[in-house]
Amino acid sequence: MKTLLSLTLNGRPRDDAVPDNMLLVDYLREVVRLTGTKIGCDGGECGCCTVLVDDRPRHACLTLAAAVQGRRVETIESLERNGRMSAIQRGFHEKLGAQCGFCTPGMVMAAEGLLRENPDPDIPAIRRGLAANICRCTGYVKIIEAVQAAAKENAA
């Protein structure tokens, strides 16, 4: 069975016929060819596949594509504006919040969701907000600094 999925993806409406058993992450990567969203653990443990659904972080690997019917989905590809990095992207870039980079799209989207909900998070709030995202490189210190830098830039 297939469903006609109508959603707003990265600000643009689109319609696709998607199989009932298709995961959102496979829809994004294989159908739309937005490969910024990564597949890490496939079980909701690593957070690499985090996207925003109606501004809230969600695992694309544990979400059925047909279940985001009518919703607003945003991926890492949506953040840049006319070729310029967004505040959170610049934070990760300038504070060296990315090393190997595999967790980065999910980490950035989780951080973006956190900042939309709480524009000025303290360190415990940042740690809680990113608790579902695993990074094996940075030790998280630089990631926390990246989120702080973005919050500061957004407030300026």
Binding site: T3, N21, D42, G43, G44, P57, H59, A67, A110, A132
Partner: protein, 324 residues
């Protein structure tokens, strides 16, 4: 992980339709999907159809009246964790919701899903090839329980964080099924069988969770033990609720998770009423909790440790809530 198996997806708009679809052979409910989709991907669940509850109107409401709080089963865990009334009057519930997995899971995992969470075991929550190479297990396709090979029982542990916090607050639930609606105590949702730990009939679903106002306002708390500070299911968890009267304990309720096939509302705590909660009484409370916990070899952490920890958590929370 494996490819997604084939199934038909239904997205009913109301409870009646959801219940009808779920009563069909091979159908399963999915709400947030934080656990169900993992289990489908691993071949632990092999549904012919999935009934997605996320399109049902009104399941995500929190209503308040003189009787207390009435929480829709589709309310997400982050809302429980941040709701002002819940944080103030039913603090353990907010803490339990905030202790589930990580922030992202809490933003789409639901209360109903957490209450109906499948039991977990080292030999069950594994990939298809892992389980196959181990000849599966009693709970799923196999004939032997690798935890207790001599027996014919499944000891997979209930690992939801929110259920014990609702139990200590005397929660009740509304269940709707093909034969209509019924209201029951949350404690009656569970039974002592790791293979089939829910008393729901095929097609029945939880629609509302009631927290009585009479049980609100008293100090309560939840704490869990886990290897990492986030994401992990509890190795052991304890919720404590108490009332004091002039520096003495008036009433005490404790419920546990992760150490039995179902969440356990601890019995025999009445004898501590009137106690000044000295060290001997606190030790006795910890021992009462420990003696009613039956962790088995279902995690990488040894049962003896989880049994000690659950008693220690209960003792510590009791002392903290009593202001000691």
């Amino acid at each position: 992980m494996e490819y997604m198996p084939d199934f038909t997806l239904h997205r009913p708009k109301d409870v009646a339709e959801a219940v009808r679809l779920r009563a069909e052979e091979g159908a399963l409910f999915v709400a947030g999907g934080t656990d169900m989709i993992v289990n489908v991907r691993r071949g632990i669940e092999r549904p012919t159809s999935l009934v997605d509850l996320s399109a049902i109107e009104g399941l995500d409401r929190i209503e308040r009246d003189a009787d207390g709080l009435h929480i829709g089963a589709g309310v997400t865990l982050d809302r429980l964790a941040t709701d002002g009334t819940i944080r103030r009057d039913f603090a353990a519930v907010a803490q339990g919701a905030a202790a589930v997995a990580g922030a992202t899971h809490q933003r789409y995992g639901t209360l109903g899903g957490n209450l109906c969470l499948d039991t977990r075991c080292l030999f069950y929550n594994q990939s298809e090839w892992w389980r196959k190479s181990n000849d599966y297990c009693l709970k799923e396709r196999g004939s032997v329980c690798h935890v207790a090979p001599g027996g014919k029982r499944c000891f997979a542990a209930f690992s939801g964080d929110v259920a014990p916090t609702l139990l200590v607050h005397g929660a009740e639930i509304d269940v709707v099924g093909p034969d209509g609606a019924r209201r029951m105590k949350l404690a009656d949702l569970y039974r002592n069988d790791g293979m089939d730990h829910l008393t729901l009939a095929p097609g029945e679903m939880i629609v509302t969770i009631h927290l009585p106002a009479s049980e609100g306002g008293a100090p309560s708390a939840y704490e869990k033990s886990r290897i990492r500070g986030a994401i992990d299911f509890p190795l052991a968890g304890a919720a404590v609720w108490l009332r004091q009267d002039g520096g003495r304990l008036a009433a005490l309720r404790i419920a546990t998770t992760g150490v039995h096939t179902h969440p356990v509302l601890i019995e025999g705590l009445e004898k501590f009423a009137g106690s000044a909660l000295d060290d001997a009484a606190l030790d006795g409370i910890g021992e009462t909790v420990r003696s009613q916990s039956r962790p088995m070899r279902t995690t990488t952490v040894k049962p003896w440790y989880r049994r000690r920890v659950v008693g220690a958590l209960a003792r510590r929370l009791t002392a903290r809530l009593a202001g000691l």
